[in-house]
Amino acid sequence: MLTLIKGGRVIDPTASRDAVGDVWIEDGRVVAPSDRTPDNTIDAAGCVVMAGGVEVHSHIAGGNVVLSRLLLPDLYASESAPEGHPFAHAGGSAAWIGANYARMGYTTAVEPAMPPSNALATQLELADIPLLDRGALAVMGNDDQLLELLRQREGANAVRDLVALTVATSRGLGVKCINAGGASAFKDGALKLSLDDEIPVYGLSTRKIMGALLDAVEEIGVPHPLHVHCNNLGIPGADDSFVATLEAAEGRRIHFAHAQFYAYGLSEPGNPAGGFRSAAERIAQAMEKHPNATYDVGQVAFGQTVTISLDILRQFGGRKGANPKKWILNAGDAEGGGVVPFLYKPRGPVSSLQWAIGLEMMLLSNDPERTILTTDHPNGGPFTEYPRIIHWLMDKEARDREIASLHKVIGERSGLGSIEREYTLSEIAQLTRSGPAKLLGLTDRGHLREGARADVAVYRDDRDRTAMFARAKLVLKDGEAIVEDGEVVNWRSGRTLELSVESDKAMEKRTDAYLEDRFGTGLDSFAVPDEAFAGHDVFEDVACRA
């Protein structure tokens, strides 16, 4: 079927396109303008047309997400929910996640923290998220097999083969390391870890582990660079960890997760107890010097949330700030996970400053394609806050109104108030479409050029950007309408994107023996077989880099 989206303001920064025009679609793809009469014409006059949004870092599936629901079952309770799906009313459920992303015009979302030991459960849960294409990053950096291999100095090829096998077995889209060595150190009594601190028992450091993973990811040709959660998240002086990690990458491609939580410079030099001030400017300068790096923001939104992280060392440290006062921490087979509820107080000094720092980082960025919009859902707040965040980025007046309602610390310890910049629609598309798609190596989305997957969001052009981006007028997934006037109209399933990577037979055999010895069961019990998905064709291959 030939579809014409006619007369909308088409925004595609990858083609320098920002003008009223048409988008043609056939067989689920964007096609060249046609002389044929379209079978279906969508009137987009007065609307903005963008590619579907792409999410790179949102905790939407896995054992810790399950635990967060059990710890805080009332968090997402909602009386207003999409119709037509039996479970979309269920706040925080897989159907709720798919529906709420789709309503905002998002069509792809990635879970950034899949423990390989829990891959099947994570992938089953992801597969139950409707409407979107999904993917997951396999987490490495605290597992005994890798650390032992590094301790024995087995060489880069062995690390590469283990990483490739892990991605292939868990059917991941990429690789993430979370406070590399931190969980292991925590289990052995440590409460703090920096880049070059020795990890007990193994004699390694975060630098060594991360460096080995950076090399392995390049060697394999994983399109998405190593996704790095640094040491010392959220503490005053964490900007030092961020910059040191950036330099430790030594020019290799690297992606930083939720960078806002590291943009905390010491307010008083040498005194962490004196609190923090914005280090957004320092981070922006460091990013300019390192074009090999990208980050997602991890913007804070006010209100109750629950933090979910495999950084158990950090989550154990954060337990005393739990609000309400309850928390879960699991020392897992590698990382495990910590689930700590948190309330970002609307007028509290700390929350206000965190909120300001995230916006300041985005507004100081000279390259929005390397600056991805996330809230690190649900850690900084729910992803449903994106429209409001976009509004603040695009509207200085709205931003100033919000600042005026918050704690005065924003003026004292951040530069947000003096920033005049307002994001353009093209820059928003870079932040939410082309940037994340490029980052994930998904060349078929994030843009509207010929050949692109027909994932398209049409918004009514409204000065109230919150209203505009909260409820898309129309969302197409693979050319099919899934949302109309902000409501889901077609509960179709997307695909789970997996990296097409071959594993080394010798490493398979060796790992099977290792797992058998440690778990009493071999590699098979870590597999994610098609058979587990009740005959549904769930997965779609993504090629490695040439």
Binding site: V66, L71, P73, H89, N118, D144, G189, F519
Partner: protein, 360 residues
Amino acid sequence: MMAAWVKGGATDADAAIEAAAHLFASAKVPVVTGLCADVGALRAAYGLAGVIGASLDPVAAPSLYAELGVLSRTGAMGTTPAEAVGRADLVVVVGNAPWDRPFLQDIAAAKPRRGRAAGSERTILSLGGPSNGQIRHVAYPVEPGGLAVSIAQLRAFAKGHLAGETAYADLARRLVAAHYGVVVYEPGEVGELGVEMLQGLVKDLNDVTRFFALPLADPFQGRALIQVAAWTTGQAPSTGFGRHVPEHDPWRFDGARQVREGEADAALWLSSLPSPRPDWLASLPSVAIVGEGSANATGDTAEIVIAVGVPGESTGGTLWNERRGTLTHSSAAGQPAALTAGAVLDAIRARITAKDSAAC
């Protein structure tokens, strides 16, 4: 061809599915109970419950809710079986139930091999357990008030709120001295209050060392159900769809209570893996989906009975793997059975949906 019965008479699966669809299409307050099955069947059970407005009442509820209530009130601190086996230099076994589990043999037979306790001896302690001599351990008797009170006493000693040269003072000193301690228990036996005390004890101990809880899983796939329930409804398993919005309430959606008080008017018992049959099943119109070859695969188990493949044996299935502490998939051993529980539930749902559409 799998065996099926309607009102005691042998029939084929298709006729039984049609009869089940007819029963549930007209039921006002149906209950789905048991839920001892693989993930595919559990997903299908939620799908059916959503359509017919049923409540879900797992056979694993007593064990699950001994933990879930505590989890939502205070949280938890735990580890995995493999981490316990690999790292623990001290294992405290609470109660009697864990001693019958193969896991206890595994952990008693090994020494810590990873982490700072690697190479040291592993000490097994028992609180309120048997003294059968099969596994070498140091036994501490339970207090007259029972396990929960004993754990509370122990916690008080560990925290320094009680002092004196008692057996529990000695036990508390051992806990504090561990490098990586693990407390093993079966939540249903310890009870909600005991679990809350244990979790409090574990959290207290982590102010000075590393100590983790390792609750043993129920034998009825309750842990698998928790995963499916949470990602499907955002809630724990005992949920009702009577208002077509999932509502969680373990008291309200207790199947036995609903039947006893005359609320329920139909029931589905899902037990493709072995689990005890509810003693109230025969008291209302019911459908049983049971594993082929099981003692319940007979015409008198329920009004409608459908025998299906047994996941992990005669059919593939994703199940809770206690040794791994996660979901794993097992293929069928040999030629797979013709019918799975998930397929039967999906077929019942499809028939009901088709009837509803026709009625429009």
